[in-house]
């Protein structure tokens, strides 16, 4: 093979999802430095999905057709990963995707998501992240640390994540029932709803002491304030998505204290980059030093995405041959910054075994520091004991 390995990368750099792509430049710059230092010849063509699924599909086509990339990399929420993956599948271009729970990624691209018997594996698209079963396990493990009545209120919007979390077959409901929790799920609301009294009333009626859900930040703030205003104070609130980023928690003022969330990556994760040899803590520090901003979870995964790409390119030989690349991806066994990535089908239902690799997940709680900023403390690691905890789960006062 002559010439560079051409990587296409799509992420939401502008628009409402832009926070996910905040670390893109930092990661890609380091990646270019590291590969050059290692004598590797990579070219990365970055495209912005503008947080718009239509645009994501368009730029993916452009990357494939005009830029003739060899491998597609895509990250951050089903709104970006799914259109890009679909395009790659149609064009038979190898695609590696991350940062969306695997169910919305996999099931969300099936022609009939409601009918499991019709689901088909993908030929050239691969995804690594965790799944709903992991987040359920993490949440219930955290909840078990606190004395509650096991009544759970759910906030699931009608979007890719919400539908997956609330799915009666593969989502929260069956597992929670099995573990003895009673779930009150009033129904799929639309994102950017201005009033949550219906949910609050339903939760009050059910006497819910636990709140869970996968909510976008503005909606969670609206909900949380309204809950307090209307005298509803659960002991535990484990929320996906909304409180991922420190800025979002800080926006809650004091009432962000002891909210809990899933943690996919943190500076205390005991993993190293296969590319630069840096530890998680070093990468996070590097980011803060370079940008002056606090670390966020996507840093680890975007970094890992490029690690996998390098590893695959090395093993594939000729990256212009899609089949060779696909075979190389399928055979990946790599220890990355976010843990081991292997498409070996471990802990996955048969239909997803080919295309999904899982990464470890733990639970954390935001703790208010003096001066109004927050720390994310890992409070539960039963699902991944090698990741150290920093404290115990505490109820919200």
């Amino acid at each position: 093979q002559s010439g560079p390995v051409k990587l296409g990368y799509v992420s939401p750099q502008t628009g409402p999802l832009a926070a996910f792509a905040e670390a893109d430049n930092f990661v890609i710059e380091n990646f270019m430095k590291a590969t050059k230092a290692a004598g590797l010849n990579f070219e990365v063509i970055v495209k912005d999905s503008q947080s718009n699924p239509n645009r994501a599909a368009e730029v993916a086509k452009e990357l494939i057709v005009s830029d003739e990339i060899h491998i597609m990399l895509v990250a951050s929420t089903p709104e970006t990963t799914n259109p890009v993956t679909t395009t790659c599948e149609a064009e038979e271009v190898p695609c590696i995707s991350t940062m969306a729970p695997w169910q919305p990624w996999f099931i969300g691209q099936q022609a009939n998501p409601g009918d499991p018997s019709s689901w088909q594996p993908f030929n050239s698209s691969f995804h690594f992240f965790w799944g709903l079963e992991d987040v359920i396990a993490v949440f219930t493990n955290m909840w078990a640390q606190v004395e509650t009545n096991k009544q759970v209120g759910a906030l699931f919007p009608n979007d890719g994540d919400g539908n997956a979390w609330g799915d009666p077959n593969v989502g929260f409901p069956p597992v929670l029932a099995e573990k003895g929790y009673t779930l009150t799920d009033p129904g799929r609301y639309q994102n950017l709803t201005d009033d949550f009294s219906a949910q609050i009333n339903a939760f009050k009626q059910a006497n819910a002491e636990i709140i869970t859900g996968v909510v976008i930040p503005p909606d969670f703030t609206t909900f949380w304030n309204q809950a307090k205003q209307q005298g509803f104070t659960p002991k535990v609130a484990s929320i996906g998505k909304a409180i991922l980023f420190p800025q979002a928690v800080e926006a809650l003022g004091d009432s962000g204290h002891n909210l809990s969330s899933e943690v996919w990556w943190s500076p205390s994760h005991p993993f190293k980059s296969s590319l630069t040899g840096e530890t998680s803590a070093q990468v996070a520090e590097g980011f803060t030093a370079a940008t002056g901003r606090p670390w966020t979870q996507p840093i680890g995964f975007i970094h890992a995405l490029f690690e996998v790409a390098v590893d695959v390119a090395k093993r594939a030989g000729d990256t212009t041959d899609p089949d060779a690349v696909v075979a190389a991806i399928a055979a990946t066994k790599l220890d990355t910054l976010v843990g081991p990535v292997t498409w070996d089908g471990a802990n996955l239902p048969p239909f997803a075994q080919k295309n999904v690799a899982k990464t470890p997940l733990v639970g954390g709680q935001w703790r208010l520091k003096d001066g109004g900023s927050y720390d994310l403390v890992v409070v539960d690691n039963k699902t991944a004991p090698n990741i150290p905890t920093g404290g115990q789960m505490e109820p919200i006062v």
Binding site: Q13, Q50, N54, E62, T86, N158, G160, N163
Partner: protein
């Protein structure tokens, strides 16, 4: 006074430029049909984008520029057509091309259902009303679980790959099926553009086109001279919905993935379309053509600048509206008097005429 005198009156619409243009257009069309033979796949996809946006723009132009119905809810028909196509293909196993037709018909049916409501409104009320209707359609389709609800869904790969025409093209051109699908959708888009433009031009040249202009200028007076304002508006509204639905379905055959937010995006399917029409010149058939080219160039050159791209796009929109309210085409044709699609009926013969305004051209 004039009874009995035989006056050699003639009515003329054609202009020299238009005749010249017709010849050039036929040549261009032939080149466009043959394009898959000699252009790269990237170019073909760019052309597809231009053609489908042009269809949407011409239709919106007919609605707003000629019928005075300023809708900001055309995404309803794009999305509905696309969803109908998806349902046909992935739930009921229809082939993609028939499914596109169903998409158009579904959009037309939707327009009949919503027309009863929006035609009760005027001006700005109409604009907002159409927007709300589109939102309602989006929210309702977001409840359609079989097509993924708010998550959306993807078209089964095999549906396109195993479609016989795609296989034929694939064999004939010796290309992969994904490329063959591109060629097929490109040709379909070309057909749609020609059909839409042809239909609109035919309509404007017809008696109904004159009635349409009258209704737009003054509905009350139009009804007093026997124009069935309601009927004309209905015809236009439904026809536009049909073509918009076809375009929507076609676009999503090519995208292969749908979600309510994407299919009913007011920005992608209405705001940009309005931008194209107004930049080019509303109320002319040439305007949208100019507009879509300008839009495409802007997008190509600026899209990689992130938010700066949109910022510049916004500023250009503002600037054109403020300094060239008749659009770029208006600016050009006012200077040169050139019109490619004249519809003005010019009375010739008889006594001497006031020479001002005797040019061919659009109504407006």
């Amino acid at each position: 006074m004039s009874a009995g005198t035989i006056t050699p009156w003639t009515v003329r619409t054609r202009t020299r430029a238009a005749t010249g243009f017709a010849i050039v257009a036929i040549v261009l069309l032939a080149v466009a049909v043959a394009a898959p033979l000699f252009v790269s796949r990237g170019t073909l996809q760019d052309l597809f984008f231009i053609l489908t946006m042009l269809v949407l723009a011409q239709n919106w132009n007919l609605l707003a520029g000629y019928a005075g119905l300023v809708s900001v809810g055309q995404q309803a028909f794009v999305g509905f057509g696309a969803y109908a196509m998806f349902a046909c293909v992935s739930l009921w196993g229809l082939d993609p091309v028939s499914a596109i037709l169903v998409g158009g018909i579904a959009a037309a049916l939707l327009s009949i259902a919503t027309g009863f409501f929006v035609f009760r409104l005027y001006g700005a009320y109409f604009a907002i009303g159409t927007w709300v209707v589109a939102e309602v359609v989006r929210l309702v389709l977001a409840q359609w679980r079989a097509l993924g609800g708010g998550t959306g869904t993807s078209l089964p790969n095999t549906a396109i790959r195993d479609f016989p025409p795609v296989e034929w093209i694939s064999d004939a051109f010796g290309v992969r099926s994904s490329q063959a699908a591109d060629i097929l959708t490109y040709w379909l888009a070309l057909v749609l553009v020609c059909a839409t433009t042809g239909f609109i031009y035919w309509l404007l040249r017809s008696r109904q086109g004159l009635g349409l202009a009258a209704v737009r200028d003054n509905q009350e007076a139009a009804r007093s001279v026997g124009v069935d304002a309601r009927r004309i508006k209905w015809i236009v509204y439904v026809a536009v919905a049909f073509a918009t639905g076809l375009a929507g379905a076609l676009i999503y055959v090519q995208k292969a993935r749908i979600s309510p937010d994407a299919a009913f995006s007011v920005i992608d399917w209405t705001a940009y379309v309005i931008f194209i029409v107004v930049i080019g010149g509303i109320g002319t058939l040439e305007g949208p053509i100019v507009g879509v080219i300008v839009f495409f160039i802007l997008q190509k050159t600026l899209a990689d600048f992130g938010s700066w791209y949109l910022l510049v796009l916004g500023l250009i929109g503002i600037a054109v509206m403020l300094f060239a309210p008749k659009g770029l085409w208006g600016l050009f044709s006012d200077r040169t008097g050139i019109q490619f699609f004249p519809v003005r009926r010019i009375l010739k013969g008889g006594p001497n005429f006031d020479k001002t305004g005797t040019r061919g051209g659009p109504h407006g």
